[in-house]
Structure formats: C-alpha cells, structure tokens
Symmetry: C2
Subunit: 426 residues, 2 copies
Amino acid sequence: MKNIRTGEILCVGTELLVGQIVNTNASWLAGRLALLGISSYYQTVVGDNPERILEAMRQASKRSDLIVVTGGLGPTSDDLTMSIAAKLVNRDLVLHQPSRDAITEIFRRMGRVDSDITENNWKQAMMPEQAHIMPNGNGTAPGAILEYEVEGHPVTMILLPGPPSEMQPMFIEQAEPWLAEHIPTYFKHLFVRMIGIGESKAETLLIDLIRKQGNPTLAPYASEGEVMFRISQLFEKSLEASGIEQPDLTGELLKQVRNIIGDEHIYEVGNRKMPEVVRDLLIKNKKTISFAESCTAGLLSSALVDYAGASEVFRGSIIAYDNSVKENILSVPAGILNTEGAVSEACAIAMAQGCRNVMKSDLAVAVTGIAGPDGGTPDKPVGLVWLAVAREDGVETRKLTLSGNRGRIRHVSVLQALDLVRRQLL
Amino acid sequence: MKNIRTGEILCVGTELLVGQIVNTNASWLAGRLALLGISSYYQTVVGDNPERILEAMRQASKRSDLIVVTGGLGPTSDDLTMSIAAKLVNRDLVLHQPSRDAITEIFRRMGRVDSDITENNWKQAMMPEQAHIMPNGNGTAPGAILEYEVEGHPVTMILLPGPPSEMQPMFIEQAEPWLAEHIPTYFKHLFVRMIGIGESKAETLLIDLIRKQGNPTLAPYASEGEVMFRISQLFEKSLEASGIEQPDLTGELLKQVRNIIGDEHIYEVGNRKMPEVVRDLLIKNKKTISFAESCTAGLLSSALVDYAGASEVFRGSIIAYDNSVKENILSVPAGILNTEGAVSEACAIAMAQGCRNVMKSDLAVAVTGIAGPDGGTPDKPVGLVWLAVAREDGVETRKLTLSGNRGRIRHVSVLQALDLVRRQLL
C-alpha cells in the first residue's frame, strides 16, 4: 500500500497559456483530489514545449506524491506529454497492442480504412514500459499511470487526455479506483445543499460544528449560487482489515446540522441541483407546471429543461416582458399595471393565475422584478422581485430584495422561484 | 523604455487548490497578455502559504520579464501576497496614505465608523516602497506595480486583487496603460466573428492567409460556440517616433477574409456577440420581436435579455414545450401536429405565425427540434431542428441537423435562430 498524501496538477497546452480556453481541468481535478483526501499545493500550466514539460514534471516529482497531468496526448507533433514522461523515468516507449487495436476500431467505425491512419495516430499506442494503461472510451488517446522513484521518494504520475469529455470519465472510472486501491484511507462525503439562508449566516450558526474538526468534519463547500456544506468522514483501511469497527457518524452530524439550520432550508443531501429536485417532486406528485416570466425571461423555464425528463411535467411558459403581453395573454388587469405597476405582489398573483389558466397546468409560477442596471426607483429599487405560485386552491407569494448585478439577480430569482415550488410540494 | 517580451501568471489562493473555484483569472489575464503581444510560458497556482508564494515569485522572476500576480491582497491573516512581494525585493512596507483614506471612505459609505476598522483593514494600505500604486475602485485592496532586478535581469511584477470584479477593471484601466508605456510595440486587433460556417472549414479556406504570417497576421481565435478569427498588426513605437510611416493594413486583410468567407457569414467585426448585433439591428430598424420556443425552452429569449436594452425591442415569448400549448396558444392546427409532427417545417411556420399574432410583434421566430438524449427516430434524429421567422409579408424557414449533446444542440439552435433574424434585417 502506497501512502499518497500530496498531489499536484500539471496541465499541458499552449491554448491555456494564450487564454483561449479556461482551465476547468485544474479545478475539476483539484476538487476530486480534495474529495479523496489528497492535499494539493501546486497547479502548473506549461505549453507544448519539451524542455518546459520535462522541467515541470521533474520539479513536481520532487515535492508531491502524486502528479496528475492533462493534455498533450493527441496525435499531432505538438503532443509530447507521453514521450517526455517516458524520458523522465528513463523508460522506452513500447507498442501497446490493445491501444493500437482500439485506434483501428475507431477509424473503422468512422468509415475510414487502415491506410487513412497515419504514423501520428499510431504514436498514441506507444506507451512507457511498465505503465498501467487506461483505455479511452471517448477518444483515441489512452491514458497511463506511471510509478517511479525520485531520490528514494515514490511518485505516481497519472497522465490523462486534455478534453474534459475524455479526461473526466477516465479519471472517475479508471484513475480513482486505482488510487482507491493505493491509498490507505477512504472518505464518505455527504453534500448538504441549502436555500433561503446566506452562506455567512449558515457558517455563523454552524461554527461550533465546523471548528470541532473531529471525524467526521463539517466544512463549507463553494458552489456557484448555492450554499453547500460537506460532511466528510475518514475511514482507515488498516483498521477495517484488523476488524476494528469504524461506525459511520455522518448521519449523526447531518442530524445536528438539520437541527441548527432548520429542515426547510435543506433541499438536498446528495448531488441533485434544485431544478432536478423540483422535477422529481413534480413527477412524484403527478403535477404539471408552467411559468410566467418577466425579468428572468426564459431562464426559469430553461433551468428546468436543462435536465432531461422535464417533458413529463413541464407544459410551457409565457415570457411577458412587455406589459402588453401581461395584459393580453396573462389577463393581468390594466388597473393593476397602472396603479401598482408590473413589479408588485398583485401583478405577480395575476400573472401566476393567468398563466395557470392558459397553460392548464396544476401549478403556475410568476416572476416579475427589476434586474437592472436601469429601471430602479427609490420605491422599487433594482433587485426587487415578486414571486407567486398559483395552485387550484390558492396562491402564495414571496418578495425578494436582491443585491448584485443583472446576472445574479436573475439567477437568484430562478433558484428562489424553484424553491417556492419545492415547498408547495413537500 | 523597458523590453517586456515574456510574462507569466501566478495565482494565489487555497480556494483554487482545492477546486472550490475555477481559475478564470489565469485565462482572462493570459488572453490580455497575448493581445499585448507578451508571450507567456507558465501559469502557477499556490495556496496562502508564505514559503511557497515566495519560492514561486523567485522562480518566475528568473525566467520572465513580467509577473502578474492575483489574489492574497485582502484584509485577513491569510492574505500575504503584498508583504511577500516586499520581502522578495528587499523593501519595507510603508503606509500609503491615499489608500488608507480610501479604506476610511469605503467604511463611511457602508455606514460604519472609524473604530470598526481593524488593524487587518489598515494592513491593506501598507505598500512596498517605490511601488506604483493602483487604487481599487471596486473593493478595499489596492494593487501595485513593482520594478526590480534579478541577477541583472529587469523584472516587473503587477499585483492584483483576486475577485474578477476588482481585478479586471484594475488591469484594463491601470495596468494596461502602464504596460503600454513600457512596451516598445503595440497591436491593433480586429475580431472577425462568423456564423454558418464551421471552424475547420473556415480555417481550410483561409489557410494561405493564416500561413503567410506577415504583419498583420490572421489566426483562429477560440470562443465558446462561435467561430472567430483575429487580425493583428504590430506597430513599433520607435519607428513612429522617427516619423517612419506604418500603414494600417488590417482593413486590407479583412477585405481578403470577407472575399474568401463570404460577407453573409461575417456577422461582426468587433466585440458584439450575436444577441447584441440582433438587438442593435432591431433598434435601428424600429422592429419588435417575439419568440415561440419548444426545445430551446427560454434560452433564445434569455440570450437576448442577457444584455441590457432588450426591452426596447422584445415583446415576450411563448414557450410551447407541450403540444397542447402549441395548439391552444399558438393556434398550430391539430392536423399539422398529428400528420407532420411537432418537429416539422409546417409546425415551425405555424408556431411563428401564431406567435406573431398573439404577441403583436413585427417579427416572430419559432424553434422546434429534438435536443435529446431521447426522442429521436430514424426519420427525425436527435439534432433535427426547424426554425421559422414570420414577418408581415411572409415567412422563412431553416432546417438544422446538429450533432453533440443536449446542451450544444440547444445552444447552436439559439445562435442560428438569431442569425436568421439578422439576415432578415440586413
């Protein structure tokens, strides 16, 4: 059993150095390493340059137990990573016949003949001796795991293709199981997703549990537009092997978090995002839904439809950006628009009820607000948003006072509207 | 005049190392450096650790003319970047009174009193001697530019705050003008944005112009879901100062690109994205628009509304996800839905015309297609999308056969629908 405690990430690609693409591989891999309990202290990006790649690999080998390298495994002459890794560890590149067969098979499936395959393509089947090869189910370049020593220090290098659609499945399906066998510990994680409570407020409420830092631990987990906490318990394989019981204490800690935060603010313990939770609740309750959107202008509908399976429950929406649409299609009384205005509780209610009538859905949700940057007044500032949800037996509203730019106001409005639906269905 | 030819980027922050946030700063800065004509060979990420930050700065100083550092300028005890930079160059931190005044002013504006300001806050006004200070218009941490020598090699370090909303304006408004004064060359860039032609096809057509690599140059420029090329001409300040004429040849090269690609495929030479181009054309032509969306389910509407100014031209939309909505609100004849189906030219036409009628807009665009992953048939595979645009004097359609996943099919459908509108308005 190895003792891989520290790791670092090395991304190879000139397209990263000139800013053509954002390095999502580094953050994704960093997140996976953190979940495995591997500490990482460095991320490095170098271009398709043999000296700089070799030097970066050499440096990383001196300071980390694990190096995860992405990019530079393709068929072009710029793709140097595998041959430089072989050079680093003083091993020859040898033909890996299964990889060669896989390349032939991919070309045949594309309707090409063997003579279409160039020397460069075959290069991708040349792998360092004694490497553990990872076949690529989503492209032509296989990955590899190399084990070597630098000055008595055992190092593992995992080489992965650059495109995320090839890299991520290869890491999850092949590298992680390999790592799991070579790490003396493993973790159980619970992701606790919250809504209706700010991150700093949640952190203040949970500070005693966070500071305790026993096993399991509780920690905030950053996620765009969401408040999320992670409960993580470490298990030792050696204890397991010796028959020493390590009781799962994550559920107990979750219960404490629930007691403090309040059950209604926790919408998911797991991996589903808010639109998926709402979709599943609608399916379970056999309810259909429709939306009347003003300032969000399609974002709310789109959030639900982003995930497959929406067609079972989603009828459609009216985007009533102009007041004439609120009046003509959603039957919002002109009196409400003239006296209370389009951004008002009365208008949100009328929009939701009007939407439910024309869409013939069980539920209808309305969103009307001022996303800015213009259009705010002292009475109705930028960030004021009214939500309403209409059901057969009544209507419920929620007032939001949001800060931030146009994009954030629209994004948070969508999350809050979905949460309003969620609470109706609980 | 300095000769800054090479640069690298150093990002400081433990949140990057654990994958909590994606390092958009590195790619954004890399892109800006490339536009300035500065070559970069490295990007590095380290955590909030004094030894590792110092070592990374030292290493970068040996190999690059310019180091752009982001992060670690905040008020907490984890924010070490400025003091370590001072240590690197052997200079003391001294009080920068204008920065201290600015911090006081920010707290007053937040309704706080001076005694609320802690020692940590004041720390942000302590800057290395002889630094060029860059005030922060969007936060409390000022930036700095340091000039120093390492083994006779002149180095410039630009220190910027981590949050992109503070970093980007500081770089554009203060660091770039400073750099422009210290670089012997400058560039003129034209961004040529294309639609209706694949990137590899465009590259094949333009290959002779790309390979020529004179001055100006032509090169593909990666951009999510868009085909873009960059025309760049280098100008020498020394020639300018000597009165030697350097004629602007970018227009001539653009003309050649236009001749080869075809004018109708170039929707913008500049910075506007497709929704902005369409919005501006609608405003100029005094036309209103509405959308009837099925598979895109609000993405098209939302793309237009993402940019301020849409309310002048956008009436609203019908998201007709379920066929009952197509029939009841958009008045698509049941006969069309039963015989030709919802994903058909006839249905797209009926949706567009029905939308134009109920929304009372000058133009109406319909999108109906199969985004997958399910719902495809041999006749109507996943990726089949019909678009229609209805005007007072008629209707035009476009058939798309798209590849890729659900997200890509919906995204490309939106771009193509906007392009259809654009061509109507030219």
